[in-house]
């Protein structure tokens, strides 16, 4: 359970980074100066933070208790 959550956080984090960078932020060409989605850079940073928070989740969540 904990492993699943950690791995999904990492995957979502990286996916968010890649999406924000290539698809949501301003296109590469200087003809386009607006991001496609507002606050796309904030989403990118969120993606980075998610990946590293996964480590916290992995360490902090308790083992599945065998009752």
């Amino acid at each position: 359970m904990r492993t699943v959550l950690t791995i999904s956080m990492i995957v979502v984090g990286f996916a968010l980074q890649i999406t924000s960078y290539f698809f949501l932020a301003a296109p590469w060409n200087p003809l386009y100066s607006n991001p496609r989605v507002p606050f796309a850079p904030a989403l990118f940073i969120l993606g980075v933070m998610l990946v590293f928070l996964a480590a916290v989740v992995y360490e902090l969540l308790p083992e599945k208790q065998v009752q």
Binding site: P30, Y32, S33
Partner: protein
Amino acid sequence: MTAVARYAMVIDLDRCTGCRACMMACKVENNTPEANFWMYVFRFEEGQYPNTHIWFMPRPCMHCDNPPCAKVCPVGARYKRLDGLVATDWDRCIGCRYCEVACPYGVNYFNWKKPSKNYYLDWQDEDVQKVTGGAVPPYRNPDLDQPYGVERRRTAGGGRLMGVIEKCTFCVHRVERGQQPACVQNCPLFALHFGDLDDPNSTVSQLLRRKPSFRLLEELGTEPRVYYVGGHPPSTESRQIEEVKARV
């Protein structure tokens, strides 16, 4: 897709006498602050006395097709319009001056001072107020505060906001009304020309067809939109007659 113009400027170095009327016109039209020369005219001397040659080179912003300034702007305040003008949105600029250090031509100017102190006269100064009686002469061009372009961004004029970067706009507020930039309009010798490269009958297209032309620092790949005819690029021999170090 609607046809958008492809604006460019052609400067005839054979005609320029270095009178710098264009610099003054630009200043008045765009309300540029002290020591900011959006349009600047180099006065060069080559050779040794008595075999010297003096020539003059106006230098506006090049409005490059591959603009290093627009590429590095972190927030997209400096951007290239579809009609070719490279504009600065003073509403969005954060004043990092990255465009200024990235520009090979040195055309960017930063507002170092607050607006009341940014001009040649400090309207709040007591001695000045003895003359003006507290009134501020109507030097501001009201066209400059409007938004321009398809995206409706505030890209015209200068000096009104501390801590942002500005540069030559090809007088976007005039061009959008079908007029010529102030420097072009005011040149007494028709040394400056502005127009649409896509229009084969425009002055710029005709000049470029008739005379060989060059652009400044072409080897950098910036693809400037300012062409020079009837002269040569500054060489290692070219030195300025007087060094302008107008610092604020």
